[in-house]
């Protein structure tokens, strides 16, 4: 049974077609990475699937209970403390204040934040801590589907890996399904069960590769070897690094 299914989605910004014939399905508990060169419309797909953008054509079927999203920027409310930011989705779904505190505290701890950080404002946090807060906010409602929209692009390499481990661990624990948008093939191989490659002009999904084993169970050497194999031997990934977004018609 699939939690999310897009069929023949197409979209245009100001008359310029950016997506056409996008069809994909994501099953329960499955983390699917969507890779493609920058500017190919990956984020737009995630935003359409999450209901932030109305597509020009195509059908979306969502059968999950609740979704959440981690954006490229943390998108925290600067006037609210870490605890209030994490508890925001609960506030929107009208949970009482007392259970909100406890749930926010638990989510923060699971995302690696310290109890002392709960009273701080986002301006007082480092970039990594802010993204941790955003992840805790996404997971606080125990969603069964999470959208990750290039969430770690702005972080440095070491921090990125810690965040990926956090995602892998929480996906395994909470067994949510996810659509993970990224342009980093290494990241896609680390966190996902299956990789979809977007056509470089957004004309459909060019192809998919299923990865062996579960995310988190793969060792670093195997991940690196897989990446090399994809980049050098697999025609599907030939275009992934080559497109300059300024040259798009």
């Amino acid at each position: 049974m699939s939690l999310l299914s897009l069929s023949r989605i197409g979209h245009a910004f100001f008359g310029r077609t950016v997506l056409e014939g996008i069809t994909l399905e994501i099953g329960a508990g499955e983390v699917v990475a969507l890779v493609g060169p920058s500017g190919s419309g990956k984020s737009t797909i995630a935003h359409i699937a999450a209901g932030l953008i109305e597509p020009r054509e195509g059908r979306i079927a969502r059968s999950y209970r609740r979704h959440a999203m981690v954006f490229q920027e943390p998108r925290l409310m600067p006037w609210a403390t870490v605890e209030q930011n994490i508890g925001f989705p609960l506030r929107l779904s009208r949970h009482p204040r007392s259970t909100r505190r406890a749930a926010a505290g638990a989510a923060a701890e699971a995302a690696g934040l310290l109890p002392a950080d709960l009273g701080k404002y986002p301006v007082e946090l480092s970039g990594g801590m802010r993204q941790r807060t955003a992840i805790a906010r996404a997971l606080v409602t125990a969603p069964d589907f999470v959208y990750f929209d290039e969430p770690f692009t702005a972080l440095d390499v070491a921090l990125k890996r810690r965040m990926q481990d956090l995602v892998i661990a929480s996906a395994a624990r909470a067994s949510f399904a996810a659509l993970f948008i990224t342009h980093d093939l290494m990241e896609a191989i680390r966190v996902s069960h299956r990789i979809l490659v977007l056509d470089r002009l957004g004309r459909g999904i060019a192809g998919e590769r299923r990865l062996a084993g579960d995310p988190g169970a793969r060792d670093e050497a195997a991940i690196f070897a897989q990446r090399q194999a994809f980049l050098t031997g697999d025609p599907l990934f030939a275009h992934i690094h080559e497109l300059d977004e300024r040259l798009r018609p």
Partner: protein, 270 residues
Amino acid sequence: MIAACLDRLSRLGRFLWSGWAGLAGLCLLAALWQAGHEAYGSFILPAPVETLNAAWRLLHDGAARDLLELTTLRALMGFALSAVIGVALGVAAGYSPATLRLSRPILTVILGVPPIAWIVLAMIWFGASALTVALTILIATTPVVFMGAVEGVTTRDRGLDAMAQVFGAGPLRRFTHVAARQIAGHVLPALVLALGSSFKVAIMAELLANAGGVGGALARARSMLDITDALAWVALAVLALFLVEYGLIRPVQAELERWRDAARPWGVKR
């Protein structure tokens, strides 16, 4: 709960302590004033102490308090009207680009007409009454509040809107939970400005329309060439504005801007 109270108390303490700097600035102004007094004499420019004594005497007369109250009430009435109307129209225009484009030239016209002209018109329409004063304040200060609200809506972080939408907030709750705070950040400085103008315009309208209040008392002081009294009335009006501003708007602003304090490094708070 206790921690929140303590936090507010500490911020209040910090604010009161920063009052010394304000007092030093006022003393500097008083020194310049005193120098002017010594150069030109009591008739042209009475000494600050004389003025303060006159103000004190006026306050203890009893009648002065009624006049101040009248002017303050009128100013506040006009200010409240302009705040409500300005914020409502500004938010509406901010969310509707077409309305905004229509209203910009109208605003320029309204801002271009001097308040004095409005006073004359209002006097012809409504006579020398509180309505004249309120209307003049309304016209003079609403554009400022309106622009603040528009600015707040148009410069809000749309990323936060999308974030709230993903987590299930409809348009109304996106406004109340996410946009309202950002709009308030722009509206409050505009309100401070509008409150100051309200007092100024109120006194000016009273003086011209001969509608009593502080403006009326100033007119009397002018006709009697009583400079000390005139300055004392000015000082009292400034005092009233100060009390209203720091009793009404600044606490709200401080409460909303608490997070900005956290961004400042320790020891450089304002």
